[in-house]
Symmetry: C2
Subunit: 237 residues, 2 copies
Amino acid sequence: MSHFQDVLDDPQNHILASLPRSDYERLRPHLHLIDMHSGDSLHEIGALLEHVYFPNSGMISLVLTSNEGTNVEVGIVGREGMAGTASVLGGAPAISQSIVQIEGTAMQLPTSVLLEEFEHSKSLRRLLLGSLQALVTQTAQTALCNRLHSVEERLSRWLLVVSDRVGSDEFDLTQEFIAHMLGTRRSGVTVACGQLRSADLIEYSRGRIQIMDRQGLIDTSCECYAVIQKQFEYLLS
Amino acid sequence: MSHFQDVLDDPQNHILASLPRSDYERLRPHLHLIDMHSGDSLHEIGALLEHVYFPNSGMISLVLTSNEGTNVEVGIVGREGMAGTASVLGGAPAISQSIVQIEGTAMQLPTSVLLEEFEHSKSLRRLLLGSLQALVTQTAQTALCNRLHSVEERLSRWLLVVSDRVGSDEFDLTQEFIAHMLGTRRSGVTVACGQLRSADLIEYSRGRIQIMDRQGLIDTSCECYAVIQKQFEYLLS
DNA sequence: CACTCTCTGTGCGTTCGCGCACAGAGAGTG
DNA sequence: CACTCTCTGTGCGCGAACGCACAGAGAGTG
């Protein structure tokens, strides 16, 4: 319990941590620390958003699903952002699902509280909209990437982005999961992973992946990584 | 000159038209009516945004360019929206270019004025963020569409969206232009256009396209059109 | 250890769209 | 009318990725 208090005192989430203390104190009574487990769905397509989530660790993917049931990731939210941005954009029903890809913890906040505070706190607005900009950039670049780049390039880019978001070179993800994010076949991911492993860029086994040669992976990936990365640097500066 | 006054009195742009009169009057002295010509670039990649644009008519495409020089459209702005949303999201250099695809007029406004008013007017915030939500939806759905759907489906979707944005069933666009938007070959567009024409869904010749059978086109297109459309209906309701 | 379940590896025919190249058809100009 | 320029039509070889199917390899369980 004292542990929980500690986290609430000192949030890892970048938005919450960057708020002026007085602003943060207004939110704090409404914040609820939750565990996010791999596969959890925080927001369903078509539903209204009752809560938003500020990750302290782990990673959330924003996923669209086609009529045929194929999934495609359109954005990633880590501890620099918030899941549920649609709520401050007018509260239309979500068109994307928020799925926990890498476990961690998050601060849960009722949407109504967020909206109230969003009106009053310029700091919160600035931080939230800034993280939204990074998210929009990701989504737009993904649209280009999905159109133009090969599975191997996209995989490389994706691993790098995930690594940055979770702040680690090693994480738990099966090829099947990755295939859903890239919107491609599982066996296509296997082949691409094999190529990256042959080049000694990554290592993996049964659901665990490790980046061995970060620079090599950057060279293999498309320029989309650099674009996204640059936007995040701007955000955090 | 009196014509200009008329337009400024009664903007066609949905955001400006929906503002409370008192809010609008504060913006009005800074608004500048401009003509948008096909091919004009309103915002360059990497540049800071000095002005934002509220279209009264016509259409603006938000376009990304790959390292190899291929263009891909990630969003469309018509008279329901504004070009230059990045300015209210923190002002990072644009990653997309705003290109006029269909000529018309727009209200030009200095970014500094917009930012000032954005802080003061809740109405403006609500309207701007709402239109941003529609734009983000478009972008996200485009990311999925680019990954999963055929040229013919994407072309159909695109024609329908354009038609909705400009409020007409007929517009000027060469196949080459369309190819750039869809991020595909010009000859691929020719084939797809041929199929749609064979099915009596569209008619076209030398840069002019007409939708003949709207419902048929909807049936041919992917579900992405419906998703985008739904979001716009929500926005305008 | 035997069994099961999940995850990864591999192969094969097919389809889509690419890159490229060239032909022909409107539309405007001198 | 001859000429030019832009826009559209078409064909062909090629490669990436798809759908599908099955084999094998870790890891955990009774």
